[in-house]
Symmetry: C2
Amino acid sequence: MEFDPSTLKYNEAGLIPAIAQDATSDEVLMMAWMNADAVRQTLETGRVTYWSRSRQSFWIKGETSGHIQELVEFRIDCDRDCLLVIVNQTGAACHTGRRNCFYTLVDNGVEHITLEVMD
Amino acid sequence: MEFDPSTLKYNEAGLIPAIAQDATSDEVLMMAWMNADAVRQTLETGRVTYWSRSRQSFWIKGETSGHIQELVEFRIDCDRDCLLVIVNQTGAACHTGRRNCFYTLVDNGVEHITLEVMD
């Protein structure tokens, strides 16, 4: 079946969550949002592109930082309301300079930072 | 720092997205939503518990299907608006009977089903 981005289920703001997973390490890098045009751009360019809710603009991941995400696989979930993009990540996926955004672990009711900022 | 579920950033419906990843295979299994009480229950019981938006009730994953998710790690992202739960998954994570929900691959503009229903 031909893929049509308009067949995905977007929320009331026209957005769908997209989970980025590293193609090599399999770590979950981050979650951000796409609209239908960001989905199209991601597939057309092979460069993962989100929609920035704070800036209300396209966010071509790594455009300013150089920490780009090259698209390897584009997957849709069973309800068509969540995306999984498998990527080749250059550098840090997280804006804090860490490899991924999920560096805070809750263990026995206490928060621990488990990743260091990359050089 | 002691973890307080009320310090997470929930959306206007009081929900936060939670990504479930398999502790053994590293595959991304599913994405669902939690409210603050589901976060507390998940941490207290070690059984991953979501909030069902369609049923407007707690959804103790696997309670009816037996396809439970035993919590291995509970992680928070940098913006505190997304969770990553690393789990031991029993059986199929997806309601379609597939191991994970992201079985639809978009390749060269065409959708492909890449996972079979488990026995």
